[in-house]
């Protein structure tokens, strides 16, 4: 029976050692595991123009300018992390979820004249899920403007039913 205790300790030791090794490796490569750079990081240390990087942040309200060159739409918008902002230009169709106040990840490189030239723009949605009626009620009540970021504390709205939400919208 002593063998079993020894095997148990052997398994615990091996798993702990492996876990530590994995943890150290991951923390060493942490910056490589990040999917995107923030505008602050990009502005502080601009990568060379020939290097493809991913830039992530929130689309600044009122910064989106849509244009057309023939059939291709040309978009310009600012991306911010709250401290710093970068202007992104992108030729092509933006994903459905793209809007002011939404988080996006832009793939591209720094343009020689400043700003960020994106070859691809991905929309990143947050962890909130709510019906249309509740979103409208929150906006009507003035508690939330989607253009300026995520909704208020979930406890204040997640129990609201669609009926209650529609009623509160019509009541106002």
């Amino acid at each position: 029976m002593k063998r079993k205790t020894r095997r148990l300790w052997l398994v615990i030791t091996c798993v702990a050692a492996l876990g530590t090794a994995a943890g150290l490796t991951l923390s060493a490569f942490s910056s490589n595991i990040q999917l995107f750079m923030t505008p602050s990081q990009l502005n502080a240390k601009p990568p060379p123009a020939d290097r493809t990087v991913r830039l992530g942040g929130m689309v600044v309200a009122g910064s989106v300018k849509r244009d057309r060159k023939g059939d291709t739409p040309i978009n310009r918008f600012d991306v911010t992390d709250g401290q710093s902002a970068v202007t992104v230009s992108f030729e092509g169709i933006l994903p459905d979820l793209f809007r002011e106040g939404q988080s996006v990840v832009a793939v591209g490189s720094m343009a020689p004249g400043g700003g960020f030239m994106a070859s691809e723009v991905l929309a990143k949605h947050d962890e909130t899920y709510m019906p249309k009626e509740v979103a409208e009620a929150l906006q009507k009540s003035g508690k939330w403007d989607p253009k300026f970021g995520p909704p208020p504390n979930a406890a204040s709205w997640n129990a609201m039913t669609q009926k209650q939400a529609s009623a509160s919208v019509q009541g106002k």
């Binding site: 991951l26 992530g56 994903p95 947050d126 909130t128 669609q162």
Partner: protein, 267 residues
Amino acid sequence: MSATPTLTERAGALFHRYANPGRFLRLGVKLQPWLTWPALILSVTGLVWGLFFSPADWQQGDSVRIMYVHVPCAWLASSGYFALAVCSVLSLVWRHPLADLAAVEIGPVGACVTATCLATGSLWGKPMWGTWWVWDARLTSVLVLFFLYLGHIALIRGFDDPQRGYRAAAILALAGAVDLPIIKFSVQWWNTLHQPDSITLRGAPTMSHAMLWPLLVCTLGFTLGFAAIVVARLRAGVMESRIRSLLSSPRRNGEADTSGAVGEYAA
């Protein structure tokens, strides 16, 4: 051997209660309907509720309904692997025969739910994010989990002597368990395209209750379904191994007799 049983011994005695295949089979027969029927009823209820009667999301629209399959599969992919890791400890430390058979049966079921999780995630990502796949920490760590399942399936069946296969696969499963916390915390430790968890232990779920309830019903139904499939496969596996040992046991004098008989007959 000491007179008073140690903790490992007592734990071993508890685990070995159900190492007896006959006892497990009797329990399994009783347990099976209590897993299968609630699983079917809850899964169908949850899916119909989620797919037809729950509200659409304010910005994702009806695409959000993929969640009612994706989230339960993602949960089961990790929990299934956790179960595999527990079986591996039981196998390596206590040499529990039922844990070996359970590990054989959990592998393919876990691989299937992980594949479903990846496929539904990809289908969801294309219309919402604008891409089928991105190499962010969450997606990549789940893909690694899928390959761990495939490796386990291949390894546990890859030896002529099943005991060697059980041992090697148990070591792989335990080493791979390092991936589980990485999957769980990937969306907090690093920035990813995948959003953070909506349902957490601390804090209110950032999901309307009208969507949360069908999701929880689906998750419970899928989980019971996973358990039902594993128990059914395990019962079949226990019966199979019984038949095998019966056929290859030294008591199989019948063979000698038969061959003898055949020989005599031929002569």
